[in-house]
Amino acid sequence: MDAATQDMLKNLFETKLNSAMRLYLETCTHCGACVEACHVYNSMPEMRYSSVGRSEIIRKVFLKYFKLQGKIAPWLGETIELDDVTMDRFYDAAYSCTGCRRCMMYCPFGIDTQMIMGIAKLLLIGADKEPKLLTMLADMSIAKGEDAEASKAGFEEAIANIEPEVEALWKTAPGKKTIPLNVEGADILYVALSPKHSIIPAAAILNAADASWTLSSFEAVNFGAFMGDSKRMMAIAQRIIAEAERLKVKTVAIVECGTAYRVMKQQTGKHPFEVVAFVELIAKFLREGKIHTTKNIAEKLTYHDPCQVARNGGVYEDPRYVISQIASDFKEMTPNREMNWCCGGGGGLVAMGELEFRMKSSRVKADQVKASGAGRICTICENCQTQLTDLSEHYELGVQVDSLANLVAHALIQE
């Protein structure tokens, strides 16, 4: 690595050094409380896969360049230089961490390892060493926003083509559009993903509740967040924010996608609309008697709390209430809620492939699912759903994995 690149990376590092980050980098006492908290370490017990092990690489670079001790006595505390080997270690640390923040629950100082990994991710972008697949996906999302008009007619046709599948779940009231698009003044903007399975059940539920809603032209997922690139993250989110503001909606309901929810809810500033996870709307519709469901799931069902919606988003009870309205034999996994094990597919790992690592590093999750004794598992994150399906196949768990919204859509009672 040449000196100019090293200087550029040091400058990038410095941009991340706000007071919270300095606190996280300076207060770790190496007590080890976080070590066992990481699903990767639990499944593959090497210190580089522990929270403290990951963060230590960043800390040693921090010590080298941003602390007096490192500048005058670099041999104390084993400082390390920013070079190509260090960048490889940054990659190993940042992209073996799913950003689930379970370790934060155990740390006596509440050190946020995901935030520390944000330094590694930013410097990897600076060094042009970030996962190119994530860059490509993020840039695709941004390009989509720049040229939305070009695909408008085709998207409308595609949406019209899936309307019969919504009607099969719920007969829309006469005079109402099955999947409304571009409706100014609608109460709710529902932001889905690209696949139709993220649209059809939600449309049926929204229509069953007789909600005033409109479907977003954009997908909710944010690959800029996965790659730790705040500029790309905001550019992707801004497409939806601008659409919501143009349509003057009151609520933006995010599809079952953990990262999409957390980005829109917590990382894009204040908005003139509220942001909810779709499950929160379902629970509201049920509580207010706007939709009615039958308990048509008799098989033992368990629930996976997605890290970004539950531990990092605070949505714990609404999914459980919704499940209580559709299933007669619910069994919690242990631990659950804020202490739940990450599925192991977050942080961009599912999009990046990484099947072998995802399976090895999530053995503890597979064990947890197996111990529940459930034949079915549902969740409210597409990423988790993919990972849990892969885990079920890899570890021969024989568990059927479902989207909660899809289960609700199939339990709707039309009187």
């Binding site: 996906l137 695909s151 997908e219």
Partner: protein, 79 residues
């Protein structure tokens, strides 16, 4: 329009997000420059995803055909 002959048909129906784009990104490198791949999908979002992907990666969407239950996207490798 001249008829398009695809060297391979790729079945991406029912895949989870973002697998259609991940998979086409890998498949496009396996065919010769100028060759066309035919993608079958059911994702409404792919109508905009594929052109945006082509724009950012320098490939070409030759045509998109829709019918109930199926979206066919013809992708030409350009480089």
């Amino acid at each position: 329009m001249e008829s398009i002959t695809a060297v391979k048909v790729l079945d991406y129906k029912g895949l989870s997000c973002p697998m259609p784009i991940v998979k086409i990104s890998m498949e496009i490198g396996k065919v010769a420059v100028g060759d066309v791949l035919e993608v079958h999908t059911t994702d409404p979002g792919s109508i905009a995803d594929f052109p945006a992907w082509a724009k950012t990666t320098g490939h070409e969407i030759v045509e998109i055909k829709q019918e109930p239950g199926l979206i066919r996207i013809f992708v030409r490798r350009k480089k």
